[in-house]
Structure formats: C-alpha cells, structure tokens
Symmetry: C4
Subunit: 272 residues, 4 copies
Amino acid sequence: MLTTLLALPEKPSFQRFIIGVILFNAFILGLLTIQGLNENLVVLLETLDATCLGIFCVELTLKLLGQRLKFFSDGWNIFDFLVVAVALAPATGSLAVLRAMRVFRVMRLVTSVPSMQRVLNGMFSAIPGAASVAGVLLIIFYVSAIMATNFFSEVDPANFGHLGLTFFTLFQFLTMEGWPDIARPVMEKMPYAWMFFIPFILLTTLTTLNLLFGIIVDAMESAKEEEARDSLAGRGISMSPESNEMRLAIIEQEVRGIRGKIAALSERIDRG
Amino acid sequence: MLTTLLALPEKPSFQRFIIGVILFNAFILGLLTIQGLNENLVVLLETLDATCLGIFCVELTLKLLGQRLKFFSDGWNIFDFLVVAVALAPATGSLAVLRAMRVFRVMRLVTSVPSMQRVLNGMFSAIPGAASVAGVLLIIFYVSAIMATNFFSEVDPANFGHLGLTFFTLFQFLTMEGWPDIARPVMEKMPYAWMFFIPFILLTTLTTLNLLFGIIVDAMESAKEEEARDSLAGRGISMSPESNEMRLAIIEQEVRGIRGKIAALSERIDRG
Amino acid sequence: MLTTLLALPEKPSFQRFIIGVILFNAFILGLLTIQGLNENLVVLLETLDATCLGIFCVELTLKLLGQRLKFFSDGWNIFDFLVVAVALAPATGSLAVLRAMRVFRVMRLVTSVPSMQRVLNGMFSAIPGAASVAGVLLIIFYVSAIMATNFFSEVDPANFGHLGLTFFTLFQFLTMEGWPDIARPVMEKMPYAWMFFIPFILLTTLTTLNLLFGIIVDAMESAKEEEARDSLAGRGISMSPESNEMRLAIIEQEVRGIRGKIAALSERIDRG
Amino acid sequence: MLTTLLALPEKPSFQRFIIGVILFNAFILGLLTIQGLNENLVVLLETLDATCLGIFCVELTLKLLGQRLKFFSDGWNIFDFLVVAVALAPATGSLAVLRAMRVFRVMRLVTSVPSMQRVLNGMFSAIPGAASVAGVLLIIFYVSAIMATNFFSEVDPANFGHLGLTFFTLFQFLTMEGWPDIARPVMEKMPYAWMFFIPFILLTTLTTLNLLFGIIVDAMESAKEEEARDSLAGRGISMSPESNEMRLAIIEQEVRGIRGKIAALSERIDRG
C-alpha cells in the first residue's frame, strides 16, 4: 500500500492531475486579484486555494518519502519545496509580502512540463559562461554610477542625488527609455555632459547585447546538440562532447592523415 | 469546356491576373478610407470592390470544384476561403467589424506569391519549436501580473487596477516604452518597487529575445536547408534530413572508421 | 600625354588625393552649416567648395574618357556621376533642395575606400534575398493601415485621420516609441483597441527582426566566404560556390562513398 | 631579497590581495559619493583611498622594475599605469575632473581577472573588422547632420540649430527615443520632413545593428575558437588558424582527392 503511494508521483496520470491542480490554482489566484469581491466568494476561493496547497503538500511529502535525501539533489525539487513551504508560513500583517509569494506556486507549471523545464535549464546552463560578461557590465555600471553621482548630483539631484538613484537612472539609460529627457536638462547646465552619456549608452548597449546573445546562443546551441545527440543515439551513433569547431578541426586532421596513409599504401603497392 | 475552366486556377497567366485583381482591390480599399468622399465615387468604388470580390468567388469556386475535398487540406486555401466568405457576410450595423475584415483580402497577395508564402511558412514552422519558450514567457507574465496587481493596485489603480490593466501595463514594460514614467511614481510611495520592476524587465527581455531568436534562426535555417536541398538535388546529390550538428558527428564517425579500415588494409598488405 | 592623363584615375596616389579632396569638401560643407557667418568667409567657403567640385568633374571626365561606356557598367561610377551632376544644376530658388543634395558628395568617400565599398556591397547583395520578407512586411503594414484608419479615424483623427497619418503612426508603433501614449487614449473610448495594437506590435516586430537579421546574416556570411575564398586562393585551393550546408552534405556523401570503396577494396584483396 | 620582491606581482596570493584592495577601494569610492558625510569620516575615507593608491603604486613599481620596458608592451599594463598616474595628479580646483577619474581604478578589476580580461580582449579584437562598418555609419551620420541642419535649423533651432545639436538629436533618433516628439512638430511645418526622418532611422538602424552584430559575433567566434584550440591542444591535436568556412572547403578538397586516389588504387589492383 505504502509503496503504491510512494510510486504515485512518478505516474504520468498523477503528474497530469498535478498540472491540472496548478492550472486551477493559477485561475483561483487570478480571481482573487479582483477588488471588492463578495466576502463569501473570497472565503470559497481561499478555501479552494488552501485545498490546492494541501494537494501539493501531499505530493511533495510522497516525493520526499520516496526519494529521501536524493530529493534535494534536484534543483527543481528544492524550488517546489520552497514555494510550498513559503505558502505555509502564517500570512498576516507584515507577512503580506510572503503571502503574495504564493503566486510563485504557478511557476511550478514550468517545473512540471519537461519541455519548459528544458528551456529554463538551457538558460541556467548559459549563466556560468555569461558570468564574466556580466561582471564587466557590473563594473562599468559601478564606475559610471560613482562618476555620474560625483558629476551630476548637484545639477540633477532627483536623478543623480545618491548612488541608489544613479543606479536606477543608469538602468533607465541602458533601456534607453526617456534618456534625452534626463540628459538634455543636465546638458543645459553642463554642456559637456554628453561626453559621459553617449559613451555610456554605446558601451553598455554593446556589453548588454554581448551578454544577452552569449546566453541565448549558448542556450540554443546546447539545445540543438542535445537534440542531435538524442536523435543519433537512436540510430546507434555516439556523439562526442566536442563543439562544432573542434569537430571540424578533428575531421580536418583525420582526413589529412587518411590521405597520407593512402599515398603510402599506393607507393608500397607500386613498389611491391 | 468544364475541364478547361477547372484547370484555369493552375494557369500562370490566370494567377497573374488574380494577383492584379488583388492589387487593384487593395488600391480601391485604400481609396475608401478617405473621409468625405463624393457619394457617387463611393458607390463606384464599392461596386469595383464587389466586382473584385465576385472574381475571387469565381476563382475559389473553380478551385474548389477542381480539387474537391483536397482543397481544404491546404492551409492557405482555407485562409483564402475564410477571407472571401467573411466578405460575403451582410455588412450592416453591428457587423461593421466584419466589414472591416474585408481588408484581409489584401493578405491574399502573400498566399499568391510563392516566395512570400515561403516566408510565412518558415515562420509558422518555427512555432512548435518556440511553443515552450512562449509558454515560459506566458507563465512569467501571469505570475507577474498577479503579483503586480496585489502589490500596486492601491498605489496606481490606473495602471495596475485589475488583472487586465496590469497585463497591458506589463506588456508596455516588455516593450520598455515609458516604463520609468510608471515606475517612478510607484517607487515614490513604495521605494522597493524596483525589486519587482527591474527583475521583471531583465527576465522578460531575455525570454522574449530567446523566443524571437528561436523563431528567426529556425526560420532562416530551414529556408537555407531547403535551398541547399533543392540546389543539390539538381546535381543528383540527395541531402539527408539531418541537422548540421548531426552531419558533422556522422562525418567524424565515418572518417574515423575509414582510418581504421585503411590501417587494417595496409597491415594486411604488409603481411601478405 | 593624353594616355598619362587617362591612366591617372587608376593611380593610388591620385586616388589618395581624391579622398583628401572629399574629406576637405566634407569639412567645408560642415562649416557652411554655421548660421550668421561673415559674408566674405561664406564666399571663400563657396569658392573652395566649387574648386572641389571642379576637381571631381575633372576626375570623372578622365575616368569617363578612359573607360568609355564601361564606365556606366559600375553602379558606383553611376552614383559618383549623379552626385556630381546634381551639384552642377543651377542652385537658386526652388532648387534649394537640389543644392542641399551636394552633401551627398561626401558619400563618395564610401565609394573611394574599398573596405567601405565592400560593406555597402554586402548590404546591397542581401536585398534580393530580403525582398520577400520586406514584401510581407509591406502588406501587413498596408492592411493594418487601412484597418486602423477605418477603426480609429473618428476617435483619434490626429494620428489616424487618413492613410498617410496612419502609416506614420504605425511606423512609430513599429519603433515602439511612445506607442502607449497613442494607444491608451484610444483604448479609453474603444476598450478592445488593444486587440489591434498588441498583435500589430508583435507581428511587425517579429517580421522586422526577421528582415533585419536576414540582411545582416546574409551580408556577414557573404563577407566571410569572400574572405575565405581569397585566403584559400592564395594557397592554391579553389573554393566551390556552395553554401556551408551544401558543403557538409557533399562531404557526407563523399565520405560514405569512400567507405564503400575501401570496403570493396579490402574484400577484393582478401579474396585475391 | 630584491628578486623576491620583484617576483611578487606574479604570485597568485599577491594577485588575490590586489583584487581585494581594488574591491575595498571601490567600496570606499562608493561611500565617498554620499553627500553631507561627517568631515572626520571623509578624512578617514580619503586616507584609506590614499592607502589603496599607495599599494597600487608599490605594485606597479615592482612590476615595472621586474619587466622593464616589456612592461609597456602589454596594453593592460599601460591602462593600469595611466589609471594610477592620473590619481597621483594634484586634485584641486580645475582638476576636479581628473580627480573624478580615480574611479577608473575600479576598472583595474577587469584587468586583474583573466576571464573578464578575455571578454574585453574579444571586443577589442573585433574592432578592426568593424572599422569599415563604423566608417560607413559615421559618413551617413555626417551627411545626415549637414542635411538636417540645412533643412530644419530654422524650423526647430532647439534641436537642429547647429551641427553639434543636430548630431545629438540624430543620435537620439538612432536610439529611437522620443523621435516622434521631435519629428511631429517639424512635420507640421514641413510635411515632407518624414522623407528625411524615416529613411534615416531605417538606414542607421540597419547599419548600427550590422556593426553591433559584427562585433559580437566576431568576439564570440574568436572566444569559441580559442577555447576549442586550448581543449584540442590538451589532447595533442593542433588546430589550424583557418576559419570554419575555410576548414570545410579544405576538407571538401581533401575528401575529393582521397576518392580519386582510392579509385586509382583499386584500378591498379584490378589490373595488377
């Protein structure tokens, strides 16, 4: 009986049921955003929400009992666990923010659908490769924020008054949204301010695009390679872990070696 | 006589004629947007529009009679059929929107020119691959919309008053258009609101770019491969349905196998 | 004497001199934009400008005499010719616009520096491939403009009053600049207007990105291939005009053929 | 003793110490942006900043003494040297800007962390290849600025009054930020002004994207190739300096040659 229960989370039908519960819970949480709902209705919706939460608790408990400590070796399980644990915290007064966190339960949809999980995996796997570009971007931001605060804090205290404000303003510059509305008044008092603004925009745009593209291209390539590996494995061809660049270089070397061997072979046959 | 008529839609000259009618119809529909036209002129233009519609009806009827049920197996035929059927609906009073739909007939230009049809085909064929990224984006949007409505509906009811408004506002954030004009007033009352806005912008920009690039790169690659296949087929070389990644892995494996065989061969010759 | 003159335009030193004259002319034209210049100075600058123009006339005449009708077979020569011819047109009164065209002479810098000429060539060569995507975009624009004029011309005549205004407004939507400032007031009167605006933005953004990427990737690939061809030609390896996709497919086929032949060979040796 | 000192900058522990000092200095410089700090605290912070500067001076002196003139053959060393030298300049009165430059010392973090240094190296190495696209963009900008100043300086002197203003306004157009707010008033007086604005936006967007992508793709490819080279070198396979395009062409040629040789070989065996 217990083993049947513990095997439940692996059953496709149960997984489909959980996805249904998540979708239903998402719908309930959407309804709860409506202002001035009938009080009875709110109570009903909250009860339904609590029921969904209860089902998740049961599901995770079963998983935890079934997998024991192995449960926590999967990042997605930890995410599921935290999301449900947060919802169990007492949700009164100052904990209203925590209560708002219950919406994250809808994110479980991503962890329940394998193809979406792959999308997030692809993005996460690109993070280490993107870390150094992100680091360069952060340093450029920090240096620029200090310079901008030093230069413009007196001219435009609303936007450059202290380091926090400047960071927000520079992020706004990075999105290029409304930057001339901030830059033009500053330039009226400090005509050479463009020597800060324009290089900043150019440099951060280039670095940000570099970062975004690095992540996206990495994610796409690893997805394609995984797909190719799966497809070839089904035909009995193992795919080495090399990148395309390396594969080409290896083929080039092999082909050269083959040409040399054939040349030697035909020479020997000629002589023999 | 009938067979000649039924073969008409396949004739290049007839197809050119239809393209001409579509272009002429587009021109008429453009003229009809002008306000305060002479009434007689409007009647004339409407008559010309009806004539174009009549020609399309005849064309589609011929096609339908010629291909029978096969007609509906081509998505573009269904599109053509719907576009013409909509125009035949009575266009009075509350059906003004349906009447406005007649402009879609101009879209038939895309279905009539093969190279443009290929462009749309490329985009459509990329949709399944992009579905899971789009799903992730939708979930992020839904979760963010509920959170933003809960957090900001009292502070800024005009932009975050209910879920519908929040969705529109968050879409505006995604396009990054005027986001500081919305974020700054909210941040005056809730200083930590940037902890929602900035991660939301970063996350959705990254996911959206991922989605757009996935679609575009997919569309471009399938176009290139189709081109390569056509070009090689003309030279008697058949192109396998593999991706470039797979092709490289296969070549690598083959080349290694060849090297092994040649080594064995020369050994045998040495011994023999 | 005449042949020496006619050979002049091919001499590197003369070409460098012409580039110098173009740069000097660009500088003069920049100075002439200054308002309220001393009248004598204006006369001097105009004289210098006329001198530059004279030099260009002589250069082009020499080229034309040297190459005869072959001169007009090169698009860049036609561009140079038109740019100088325009400058010779009488520049009074209503021809002020033509006079402003003389700035285009600075564009000759692009045609004089081979590496820049290659950049433009790359872009131009990508145009035919991009034509069908551009066509789709144009049709979407035209259909949307008619629909938007029909729907919104009464609600917002300043932005959607007639087809011309709508085209400009939709282009503004495409750049996503200030679109909520236009969409929100319209939506106050027509709450479902977002059903036009948001799909329009999504569809045109996707198509435009597709168009831009098609052009850029094409331009980059043809540049890389030309470079590779030049570099390999210097080492005595001729590069076939195939694309990478085709090359991979050809190699795959060849490698398979080689494996088959070697297998046959070793069989024969075994038997022999 | 001296040799121990001179070897210090190469020691990993010393390099980690220097990175720590840079981070600490960055933190100090951040604190110094706060307005109205206690005077004693400012003195303390300035002293700590001076101490950090002192440590950098010692570090660079050791490096300089150790490497002599070779020190200046590395661009990063020159950067480090300038950044520290600037900080030593007297920082009073009109030199306040120079004083502000001391924040650049934080940029040393980039030069101290190899993975970040590689990111910048990748970007710098892409500059020569991007120079001609940047040149084309500059020429388009210059020509457009002269034309816009000539056309619009009387209609909108605030934005197009002189060449400098126009350059700033056109850069704003390039970022597409608020361009309709500038274009619409101009178009009220000059209805055909869109014939300048829209082509300008299209042309510069395309060229800028071309430039940005050229840089990013170049940087990514050289990073990937370097990685592949390192990885293959560890397995004893040397990677030729060719591009992927060239490698494919070479393999194609080699494979064709091998097929020919094998065909000749089997013929000879048949005959022999």
